[in-house]
Amino acid sequence: MIWTAVLVASLGCFLLKLAGWSVPARWLERDRLQRAAVLLPVALLAALVVVQTFAADRALVLDARAAGLAVAAALVLLRAPFLLVVVAAAATAALVRAW
């Protein structure tokens, strides 16, 4: 099942890229379409943050991941580099669990 998802997503995302190179530009120059493509990633990324931090199957939980995210948020506000944000979040969660 994972392999199917890997291959279908790869093909789909490639076709999305190729479509932009191949269709006449005016087809995709509609204002709403442009805004949707800019805003969709924002909504989805925000949802992914919430799901990956607070979901345990179908329950909302507060665990070590939330502590990791809090540290990550502080570092993001300080404009820390990507790797530092990610490593600090993992280290925080690991420390909270080891406590």
Binding site: I2, V6, K17, L18, D31, V49, V51, Q52, A90
Partner: protein, 209 residues
């Protein structure tokens, strides 16, 4: 150089996240070779790791991949790419290459696109392999806090995109929709439902820039 470091770090965390989510090292590497779009790859393994179905995972990856279509439209007006090279150009159409090509001085857009694309491709795949192999050897992902690294990565990706008020509102609405949907829907679905957060902004006429 800075771009290279960022791509390397991002690739390392993707490889580690994929293995943490239950993918094999080979599957993580195939994703980086074939899918080659960071946010979509993270979304796919994030949803699969959270117990969401393949359909929800693929749908999330595709929705995040739609922006590459618009990048390609812009690039096609800048670069005259014909024939089979268009396949290669399409595969290299991502945030980084579009950014470099569109900000390059006139006449150098092509050079910027291909140089960035090829180096990011190589670096991204090497880093994925390293991250996946590393995470596979490190042992229990939860004890190392690797499950907390994934939302942190998403947050770091999101941050530069929410500097304006309307994007901040979309992010907040998406987060709220997802949180509401977690207890009510199967894993994977909350992320897709969050896409509805953009609807009110599309219905309104464009605010003056």
């Amino acid at each position: 150089m800075t771009l290279g470091l960022a791509v390397g770090a991002y690739g390392l965390s993707f490889g580690a996240a994929a293995v943490t989510a239950g993918l094999t090292t080979v599957q993580a590497c195939v994703l980086s070779l074939l899918l080659f779009t960071g946010a979509s790859q993270f979304a796919l393994v994030g949803v699969l790791g959270a117990g969401g179905g393949a359909v929800a995972g693929v749908a999330g990856a595709l929705l995040l991949g739609t922006r590459n279509t618009l990048y390609a439209v812009r690039l096609a007006t800048l670069l005259p790419v014909r024939g089979p090279r268009r396949i290669l150009a399409a595969q290299l159409t991502i945030d980084e290459t579009t950014g470099m090509a569109t900000s390059a001085p006139p006449g150098l857009a092509g050079t910027a696109f291909w140089a960035t694309g090829l180096s990011v491709y190589v670096l991204w795949n090497l880093a994925t392999l390293l991250g996946a192999v590393g995470a596979a050897r490190l042992g229990d992902p939860a004890a190392l806090g690797l499950d907390a690294a994934v939302p942190a990565a998403f947050l770091a990706l999101l941050a530069p995109q929410v500097r304006a008020r309307n994007t901040l509102a979309v992010a907040a609405a998406g987060a709220l929709l997802a949180a509401t949907a977690i207890p009510l829907t199967p894993p994977g679905v909350p992320v897709l439902l969050a896409g509805l957060a953009v609807v009110p902004l599309l219905a309104r006429p464009r605010p003056p820039a």
